[in-house]
Symmetry: C2
Subunit: 227 residues, 2 copies
Amino acid sequence: MPAPTPATSATPARPVRRRAGRPTAAVLDQGGITTAALELIGTKGYNGLTMAALARSLGVAPSALYNHVSSKDDVLILLMDHLAAMVDVSAFGSEPWESAVRRWAWSYRDVFSEHTPLIPIIAVLPVANAPKTLAMYESVTAGFREAGFPEDRIISAIVALEAFVFGAAYDVTAPDDIFDAGSLASQVPNFTAAVDRLALEQHDRPTDVAFSLGLEALISGFGALRA
Amino acid sequence: MPAPTPATSATPARPVRRRAGRPTAAVLDQGGITTAALELIGTKGYNGLTMAALARSLGVAPSALYNHVSSKDDVLILLMDHLAAMVDVSAFGSEPWESAVRRWAWSYRDVFSEHTPLIPIIAVLPVANAPKTLAMYESVTAGFREAGFPEDRIISAIVALEAFVFGAAYDVTAPDDIFDAGSLASQVPNFTAAVDRLALEQHDRPTDVAFSLGLEALISGFGALRA
């Protein structure tokens, strides 16, 4: 006879409701904690993520949560790793360096554009103890080395590309009229003409056009550093 | 006889304490509201900026504050304009395009690295009703046009540069050990070697080296688009 389905599934889709009686550790694995933390931030913003609120949404006592993550910092590392694992580094080592950087950067931007409240945290979060984040960096670094990129510039290039990616992720979420000068348009004629011209000529999403323009400049400029 | 010094000075250095009795409109001009809002965000984070807290820190009733700014959005526009006015666009029109972009971008990054809690807001805030922000964009746009930059690419190039600037502003505030892999170092040998190599060879601040590397690539790539 098969054993009853264990309460701890590997990656529960969503947190369970609080059950009557003693709290259960049903979703107290890393996947469950990550999912619950992302939902909290999605509904209440980053400041809504507290250990107390997280325990509540998981239907457990805070003490039970602390058996799995020792602090909010641990939760942040789980979140960073969760997002890093969604970023596509598969082209490093299998495709030309330019294509690999391109696929990595677009994918990285897309992932973070869905999670902009986490950017201020993750942009400055140490990577120690974050195995999936480190695995992403390892793939990218190895790809740069194999492509003949000078070793002492690799980290700086990655930091620059990431800066561009984080900023561009915000731009994905900007309102369409962000550059509409409104009643002040006549006072800024050059700017207004350029904004109007962009609107006339644009076929793709403006945010994608800007991202592509910047990314191709970075790839071209960094490519010139390769041996 | 000179009139008594008016209670409303143009740009009071700091908000006054709440006085006994009826609230006074002492610092209820745009400069005073801006200063008080920046102090609130500095001490309590962006979520600490509410109209009620702002009125309290200015020592006035909320109704008095609402006589000057109709909503929190108005306050955000004041903050955006305050920061935009600190960004150096003076080289556009007087120096070569490359130098002007360089001075603008470094200055822009430095200003926002001191105000990272505002980046998520300002990166997506419409510029309508923000005269100083629009003035910054007008100077930059005019500089790009005069340098022979194709008009239909100017806004995209500015958006890309700003994305890089916003992301890089976070990097300025990152801890020195952000890329220390700690106990996982042996599992990410390429990354660890590159991080160690950077530490060995670095003379300037790593964040400045990365910013310079990315900015020069953007300037070079965008420069190639000029007529």
